[in-house]
Amino acid sequence: MTYPRHDLFDDVAVRLDSVSLRYDTSEDILSDIDLVLKPGSFSFLTGASGAGKTSLLKLLYLALKPSRGEVSLFGRPTSNLTRDQLSSLRRRVGVVFQEFRLLEHLSAYENVALPLRVLGRRESDYRADVEELLAWVGLGQRLHAKPPTLSGGEQQRVAIARAVVTQPDILIADEPTGNVDPDMGTRLMRLFLELNKRRGTTVIIATHDLGLVRQVEAPVYRLSNRLLVQDVEFGGETARRRTDPGLEG
């Protein structure tokens, strides 16, 4: 089984240049955001509720077009790509949605295998991988359970397994530990770190959980007042720091 790898000449996994976002005619949700995530980097995204974390992540996983500016993945500006080219990029991005977005008529196993079905893989080829992954997130006995019968934490683990099953080049997770106990949160964080270290997966995690942030020495970006700043408390070196007088001090 082959998995997508970074393009040879990719020097950045994600790049946002002066990106702004607004819905309809409302004010900007995000304003003039610059961000660079290098391949293999591990970052956190924090901010108060409603600060625009999910919107920013949607830009990163190509669910939304920016109102202004450019989003580039793997060195490719996305604004002029064809729909098939965008689909190809999305296949290299794993997403853990805040609301899980599991398909209720499919079992846990089938939900996890969904991206592999999209890729056209044969069930006999991926069966063992999917079962192993589900066992790893503690759901080895719940392969055939449908999402409505799973607890919130179990659904979250299925969602995480689905996001990582293709071993994506970028993993974007929106509050991935919000519904699990601290032990499982630590374990899932270890999964993300393993993906990051072993495969060089670029990981960005949006979270409120500062305890989780403190477990990993990684750059922290904070959304506040529509702007993205690098949080000096946690440090890091991959992002361009954005200064805003209103946020300093």
Binding site: L89, L103, H105, E110, L114
Partner: protein, 289 residues
């Protein structure tokens, strides 16, 4: 593991309603197509029968004069047969108007000559009238092809109407399925979103809906075609049992072409459903990034 679960869940009441609507449309479309074909066949048959047939009416002659006229007619180039109708035959022709008791002898009736001519010879009617006039015989020549042309034109309009009905019914089916696909798309937006963000190409997602509606179109079309077959068979049976006195009704039957129409109906319904679903989904996906 067991067989893979379809990515689109098995549908609900809405799909049953759609099945009914598409089935009914296919029933009507198949009947309209059968009518168009039957009308065409009837027109062809009627016009073929009357081509080259003429009736010569002789108002002022007796039987001997009629025989003289027949000889003149028979000598005209292109005439195959000419026959003076007997009094009984004329009575039979007028029976629908005057009843079965016959006509009083005192009622003056013209002598009639039934003529069969080569349809390829042009202007047979005027030629006969001219020859008879030159022989000093007053006559009125009725060329059956003249009124057959009127019948053909009327049947042509009927056939065109039936074909328009088929086209309208097919368009309606496509529109209904497009509407249903759009509704299904909205209802399954969660699935479409997840597939889209997992990197599924538009044709992959459209294919899920295409397959769903292809099967629905085939099944509903088959039911509609079977119902049309039943209706046609009932009509034929009724005409055969009670139609012996309804001489104007065309002879009805189901031939190979009719069966082709019935077999093709569900296939067309399936393709139309597939096409409508594809167009609807692709257009909707274009609205997503």
């Amino acid at each position: 593991m067991a067989k893979e679960t379809p990515l689109l869940p098995v549908e609900d009441v809405r799909e049953a309603a759609l099945f009914f609507v598409v089935g009914a449309l296919c029933f009507l479309a198949a009947l309209a197509a059968l009518s168009a074909k039957s009308t065409y066949g009837a027109a062809k048959s009627w016009t073929a029968e009357v081509q080259g047939e003429l009736t010569v009416s002789l108002p002022d002659v007796d039987r001997r004069g009629a025989d003289e006229a027949r000889e003149v007619i028979e000598q005209t180039q292109g005439v195959r047969t000419a026959r003076v109708l007997s009094k009984e035959e004329i009575d039979a022709l007028l029976e629908p108007n005057f009843g079965s008791r016959g006509l009083p002898d005192s009622l003056p009736l013209p002598q009639l000559i039934a003529v069969e001519a080569d349809p390829a010879v042009p202007d047979m009617g005027p030629t006969l009238a001219r020859n008879l006039a030159e022989a000093g015989i007053a006559s009125a020549v009725d060329e059956h092809a003249d009124w057959a042309g009127d019948v053909r034109r009327v049947l042509g309009v009927a056939r065109l109407t039936a074909l328009i009905a088929v086209a309208l019914l097919a368009s309606t089916a496509v529109a209904v399925i497009a509407f249903a696909t759009h509704a299904a798309l909205l209802a399954r937006r969660d699935i479409v979103d997840v597939l889209h963000l997992a990197g599924a190409r538009d044709r992959f997602i459209a294919g899920l809906f295409e397959r769903r509606f292809w099967v629905l179109g085939l099944r509903a079309g088959a039911v509609g075609a079977l119902m049309a077959l039943g209706a046609a068979a009932l009509m034929i049976f009724t005409v055969q049992v009670h139609g012996s006195r309804a001489g104007l009704l065309p002879e009805l039957s189901l031939d190979f072409l009719d069966l082709v129409i019935l077999v093709v109906t569900p296939v067309i319904a399936g393709f139309a459903a597939r096409f409508a679903a594809r167009m609807t989904v692709i257009r909707a996906l274009k609205g997503m990034m």
